[in-house]
Amino acid sequence: MLTKRIIPCLDMTEGKVVKGIQFVDFRDAGDPIVLAKKYDEQGADELVFLDITATVDNRDILLDVVQKTAKEVTIPFTVGGGIRKKEDMQKVLRAGADKVGVNTGGFNRPTLISECAQSFGSQCVVLSLDAKRVKNQWNVIINGGRTDTGLSAIKWAQQAVALGAGEILLTSIDTDGMKQGFNIELTKEVTNVVNVPVIASGGAGKLQDFKDIFVEGNADAALAASLFHFGECTIQQVKEYLNDNNISVRL
């Protein structure tokens, strides 16, 4: 049986891991490679690295961090941030990433998703989708939380999957860093309309939040950052809790 995944997320800027609240107010959380190795040893199922200012600073992703991480960890990792063309994705994959997150670059030019899926396979194209509640719908937000596109996140998720995205990393800006639980409503809406795995992100604050997002939100994986970075709980604790609650995890 396929297990539910627990994924620590390393948001990076200028070579350091940072963590913000609702995409602002960042604080330093440490060295990416040290953290990556620690999470691997703790039993993380995957890692996600997001170069959160690559798009707005208009620069390439931190390839050396990707290379170093690849040498240190024994689990898969996804890298996102600043992917604008197929060649960007190829560079990141060649540096040792297993999957690549496409966010703003894919929204601005959706054929990027199909080009990458055709060349590298859907399984390594992750749609990184940041959503925020605006009036009565969830909007797609791009440029690292800065630009509201006004378009429906649910519709964009469907379109991106049709174009070839093999997985969705769904971040709720409303719940990000608030530690009041994942956005179950948003996650459920997305998992209902797509047939690819969905990683829920934003809001993990306690053990029960993980259970809720798997049981009620139908998420395939749950991503968390501050909870793990600042030592509030370990990955092992989360997994043991889920196992005790009859949710299949890799122990």
């Binding site: 024994t74 689990i75 060649r94 890799r250």
Partner: protein, 204 residues
Amino acid sequence: MIAIIDYGINNLESVRNALNKLVVQTVVTNKREMIQKADALILPGVGAAAMGMKNLKERKLDKIIINDVRKGKPILGICLGMQLLMSKSDEGDINCLGLIKGNVKKLSSEMKIPQIGWNQVCLTDSESALFTNIPDNSDFYFVHSYYCKPYDQNIVAGITKYGQEYCSILIKNNIVGVQFHLEKSGMSGSLLLKNIINYFTQLC
């Protein structure tokens, strides 16, 4: 020396990193002479089957691999690399290397595709030296939409369930294929890789 075959679109670094940890001498190459000189081959894999075969053919590597492996050179196919060992793939409806008779089929549409994550491998012969220190039903990391269906059921060494049961490890003499990314499967993956390298060393 083990040659990791570079055919343009795959996760070469992670395979090399995993082998480096085992202190195995490797070369990442797309050169025919290097492949012919190597004691064993690894065909890694991320990507689409049609692109994979096209790239192998463009580099004229397909015939060399087929010849060397038919003569007994050990080969490990990982994920797409395993699928390319088969006769034919439904992904892009293409002919593959044909080293293992059988087809590559799409996973059941009732399931989320691709399958992404950790799933168990049920070993058909857990006493085999290839599975030393690896408990039956250990978790390995899978990322794929297609699976191999060999004609000869006797070569199926590992079975995984996702919608249906399918072959996740195959072993036929000097040919080993794994559907999961053993180079990304933590401790279980490293152990299996080590056992496979030992097995290959005995064959050489």
